[in-house]
Symmetry: C2
Subunit: 341 residues, 2 copies
C-alpha cells in the first residue's frame, strides 16, 4: 500500500497533566501533533488567568523545540461577563465537567439549571467561545452518556448560537443527537473507536483499557466508527489520552484513562485505511477527522506539520517513562500496521 | 438485635482448587459450612473416577479435623450410560460448562445440540443426577446470561424430569425463567446479591470485584435479592468463591473470581436481617436460602453444624494466606455488621 499523509494533525481533547508527568507526555504529543486542546482538570483546576498562564508556560517548557500549539481551556464555572471578556483572548474553549464525574472534577457543575447558567453561556455564545462538555450523569455506568442526551438537547436549544462540543462520545445515541442540532459537535477518542466493554471485561480484566466514559456495546462502537470514518464534518479526533502511572493502573483500585497520544495517528491510519482501492477517499476522510473538521469548527490555524505514514509494522513500546514516571500505553508491546515514516 | 443461628449451612457452588491453594481455602469453607458442592474445573478437569477420588482425598487432607462434606461433581461431557451408572454413587451432580466461558473450561461443551446430548441427559434424568450449568453464551459480556435463557428453556422442556441448576444467576431474566419450569433451580452468589457493574467499574476499577458472570444492573441485583431473601424454595446459596492469588488480580490482565468463602455467612446475615421487627421471618428465610432449599433440591443430609451470629462488627481480614499463596477477599479490610460467635 502507498504511504499516506496527515497534515496538521490535531488532538482536540488532551490531558497533559503537570510537573513530571507533563514533562513525559507533552513531547510525545508534540512529536506527531500540530496542536491540541488542553484539558483544565488539574489540581487545582484552571479557573483564572494566573493559573492558566503558569500552566501554559510549563507546557512550553515541556515541549521544548517541538512545534506544537497548546489550545488552552478554562474549567467551566458560572463566571460573570467581565471575567469571560477578560479571558477570551487566552482560551480556545471552556470545559464543563459535572461535579465528581471523572478525574479531578470535584469542583465541576452540580446542577444543570439553565437559568443559573444563562448569563455565562449567553456571554460565551456572544463572544463565540465554544463550550466543551463531559456529558455523563451519575447514573449506572453503561447509561451515563445516554442519560445526558436530554441535557445536550436542552443546552443546544436554549443557546442556539453557542458551539457545544460533546466530548469523547461513546454511544450510538450520541452520534444521532450531534447530527440533530446545528450547534452540536463531537470529539471521539481512538480507544472508543476500537474497544467495547468486552475488551475491558469480557475475558481477563484489562485495567489499561479502563476509561471514563466506559467503552460500550458493539453497535455503539460501530456507529462511532461509521461517523468518524465517513469524514462527517461534525466529528473530530480527541484522544482523551490520559496518562496514569502504571502503578495506579495495576492495583486494587485502578484509575480511569487510556494512554494513546504517541500511537493515536498510527491507530487511526489502521482504522481508516482498509485497502488500496479506496485509499484516496479514506485518506481524505482521515484528514478531515484528524484536522480539517477541528480547524473549521474551532476556527483555528495550527502550525504546519505533515505526518507521513507507511504501511509497515510498528511495535508499540511496552512503556513510556522518564525518571519519575512510567506509563503503559494502549496496545503495549502489540503491533500496529502503520508507522510514522 | 438478638443472635441468629444458621443450621447446616451449605455452599452449593464452591471452588476449592488444588495443591497449595486447596490447603489455604478448604479449611476456610470447612470452618463455617457444613458442606459444599465442589466444582470440577481443575486442570485437568474431573472427568473420571480416578481423578475424582484423588481430588476427594486431597480435599479430605486439606480439611483435616473439620466436619465438612464435599459434595463432588463430574465435569460434564457426553458420557455413555455405562460410565454414568458407574460414577453415580460418587457424585452429587454433573457440571456443564460451555467451552472456554470461564476459568479452566476449555474442554467444555461447544454445541448445545439436544440430540447429541440426549443419551447422557436422559441417563442422568433416569438416575436422578442433577445437571449444574454455567449458563452463558460467548456474546457481549452484559448479555451472556440473558442470551442463555433459550438454552435453559430448551433443556428444561426436553428433559422434564432432569433437575437443572442454573448456577450463579445474575439477572432478572433468570429469576423469571427459574420459576417458570418445575425442573429448574438456581444458585446465587453473595457477591451478585451485593454488587452491580457500578461497583466494578463505576468509580475506580476494582479487580477484586471482577467475576464471571459479570455483575449486572441494579434491577437485576434487586430481583436476585427479592427472590433470595423471600426464602423462595428454588434458590440456594452458592458462593462461587473463586480464589486467585492477589498478584493475579492486581496486574495488567486480571483473573475473574471473587473470594467470599470465609465471610459469606456474615454477609448473608447482613443482607437478610434488616431489623428486629421481622427477625424471626428473616432468620427462617436465611435458613432456607443457606441450607434447607439445597437439602430439599439435592436430597442430601449434611453433617450437623450450627453457626450462631451476633450483631457486632466483624472486620474482614485484608488477606488470607499460607506460605505459598495470598488471596484478597471481597470487602478486604472493611466491616460487616454480623460476626460469628
Amino acid at each position: 500500500m502507498r504511504d499516506i499523509t496527515v497534515r496538521n494533525p490535531l488532538d482536540m481533547h488532551l490531558h497533559l497533566r503537570d510537573d513530571d508527568m507533563l514533562c513525559l507526555v507533552a513531547p510525545l504529543s508534540a512529536g506527531t501533533f500540530s496542536g491540541g486542546l488542553v484539558m483544565p482538570n488539574l489540581v487545582p483546576p484552571i479557573t483564572n488567568l494566573q493559573i492558566l498562564h503558569r500552566y501554559k508556560s510549563m507546557i512550553a517548557d515541556a515541549i521544548g523545540e517541538n512545534s506544537f500549539k497548546p489550545y488552552m481551556t478554562m474549567f467551566y464555572r458560572n463566571y460573570d461577563r467581565e471575567f469571560i471578556k477578560n479571558i477570551k483572548e487566552s482560551i480556545t474553549a471552556m470545559k464543563l465537567y459535572p461535579a465528581g464525574i471523572t478525574t479531578n472534577s470535584d469542583s465541576g457543575v452540580s446542577s444543570f439549571d439553565i437559568d443559573t447558567m444563562r448569563p455565562t453561556l449567553e456571554t460565551m455564545s456572544e463572544l463565540n467561545i465554544p463550550l466543551c462538555v463531559h456529558g455523563e450523569t451519575d447514573g449506572f455506568v453503561m447509561d451515563r452518556e445516554a442519560e445526558f442526551m436530554d441535557i445536550y438537547e436542552t443546552l443546544a436549544t436554549a443557546f442556539p448560537k453557542l458551539k457545544i462540543i460533546m466530548e469523547h462520545i461513546t454511544t450510538k445515541a450520541a452520534t444521532k443527537i450531534v447530527q440533530k442540532y446545528d450547534n452540536l459537535f463531537a470529539t471521539v477518542t481512538a480507544h472508543h473507536l476500537l474497544l467495547t466493554l468486552d475488551d475491558l471485561a469480557g475475558g481477563l480484566l484489562k485495567p489499561h483499557l479502563f476509561c471514563k466514559p466506559i467503552a460500550k456495546r458493539h453497535d455503539d462502537k460501530d456507529a462511532l466508527v461509521d461517523m468518524a470514518t465517513s469524514g462527517h464534518r461534525k466529528i473530530m479526533f480527541g484522544s482523551d489520552s490520559a496518562p496514569h502511572p502504571t502503578s495506579s493502573k495495576e492495583c486494587c483500585g485502578c484509575a480511569a484513562g487510556v494512554f494513546t497520544a504517541p500511537i493515536a495517528i498510527q491507530l487511526m491510519a489502521e482504522l481508516f485505511i482498509k485497502n488500496d482501492k479506496n485509499i484516496d477517499q479514506s485518506e481524505q476522510n482521515l484528514q478531515k477527522f484528524m484536522s480539517d473538521n477541528a480547524i473549521n469548527i474551532y476556527g483555528i490555524s495550527p502550525p504546519p506539520k505533515s505526518i507521513t505514514l507507511e504501511n509497515k509494522e510498528f511495535i508499540v513500546p511496552k512503556i513510556y517513562k522518564n525518571k519519575q514516571n512510567e506509563v503503559t500505553p494502549m496496545k503495549s508491546g502489540e503491533t500496529i500496521s502503520w508507522r510514522i515514516k
